[in-house]
Symmetry: C2
């Protein structure tokens, strides 16, 4: 029975896509069957696993707007046990096209219900926004991972994001949980980074993953080769961090 996890934060550049790709690849390396859903019109997750977004003919857009079965669109990647439902620039129009539909928040949930049984985990990469496509992802999800960059501006938006999660829980998806808050791009030499870690752990306590993702240039380089960080350099800090995160999530969900 697949678990759907959304990766969301309206603050830009905090590591949503990097987490979706590398947590996905790590769960795949631990023998779980994983699908990444690229719900961002930038389609960074699609290119990050080695596909060219320009060659993508059908994407998540067709699933939520034209009711195409995602099973007919999903593509395999070179990473073991990892498939992708590609993103596409057409998603920009989806927000406006869905506005007047009766079930506008549930379109993605209905689309993904066709393939939920085929995977152990489905990971949805969201765009830096709390618009209708991201709300769709939160309605489709069983839980949400909130990446928190170890920078000052990243702290500011957390309250608003948690508010949105509460609204979705109350009105649209009562089973939505917070899988955890993931501290990203941590550089232990920086005073500000250490302050952010302390502040987040103090405020959010056991919601915060024990695993912290360190700043690691290999995480930035891997997508330029169309590879996950495990394929690019399985021994680097970034790969070790994301494998630890995968294990922590499996333990938490009694799936080791």
């Amino acid at each position: 029975m697949g678990k759907i996890i959304a990766i969301a934060n309206q603050k830009g550049g905090v590591g949503k896509t990097t987490t979706a790709i590398n947590l996905g690849a790590s769960l795949g390396a631990l023998e779980k069957k994983v699908l990444i859903v690229d719900a961002d019109p930038q389609a960074n997750a699609t290119s990050g696993v080695g596909l060219d977004p320009k060659n993508v003919k059908t994407s998540i857009y067709e699933c939520i707007i034209h009711n195409i079965n995602p099973a007919d669109i999903v593509l395999h990647t070179d990473s073991p046990n990892l498939d992708i439902l590609p993103g596409h620039i057409d998603l920009v129009g989806a927000e406006i096209e869905m506005i007047n539909l009766p079930n506008r928040e549930k379109m993605m949930r209905m689309a993904l219900s066709n393939i939920k049984e085929d995977y152990d985990f489905i990971i949805i990469d969201c765009s830096p926004s709390l618009g209708l496509v991201t709300v769709n992802a939160l309605c489709a999800a069983d839980s949400v991972i909130i990446p928190v960059q170890c920078e000052y501006f990243a702290l500011e938006g957390l309250g608003k994001l948690l508010n949105t999660v509460k609204i979705v829980q109350n009105l649209l998806n009562k089973d939505l949980e917070i899988e955890g808050m993931l501290l990203t791009m941590y550089d232990q030499r920086l005073r500000l980074a250490n302050q952010v870690v302390e502040e987040v752990k103090m405020h959010f306590q056991q919601l915060v993953f024990n695993t912290i993702i360190f700043r690691n240039t290999k995480l930035g380089e891997a997508p330029s080769h169309g590879e996950t960080v495990i394929m690019f350099d399985a021994t680097c800090k970034g790969a070790v961090n994301y494998l630890n995160l995968a294990r922590e999530i499996l333990q938490k969900n009694n799936l080791t």
Copy 2:
């Protein structure tokens, strides 16, 4: 006669807000009268200059939706010659509220026309999106600065952004120019960063500013003190980079 410059890129976390605040402060330090318009519901530019977004009663939202004159809302900052038209979370709703208005793309342009004469420069900080509020900023602007982070994913979205600028130029604002592409968070030790700089300079030639903004921790720390980087540490690399950018823009516009 004020020049309006939008800072836009739908890729998140590339340095839009950091550029709006510190280019604004630098132009102010060079005796120009500057207004920052915070058109991002995250309101990072507002908090970055030392204001608390929670205490903001009226913002850019009231100007574009309720036709309040911005002159009645603008606030002074502690930075010389620098005012701000604050942002607010209500902007999230603005996209939907404007959709059916006849002049929906021109609301911000009409609002800012009331105060354009009061400033030498008006700098608009945009959210990581190409939605209606960002299109409004591009319609109000005389030119646009495109921050490009020295990372792989940052290259991917440039084509789409330049397309959007072309569409706005053709349909909505024929005088819109590209002020320049600004390379940000450059770390000269990283191979990937050097590859990105080379690629951007090769493709976009004289559109690329000579000034490059180096990765500099003081740029991340300054907003946590509610200060611009010039107030925080005027001798640091980040402050020097943004002062050089301000001078380069003044020279380009024959305003030295």
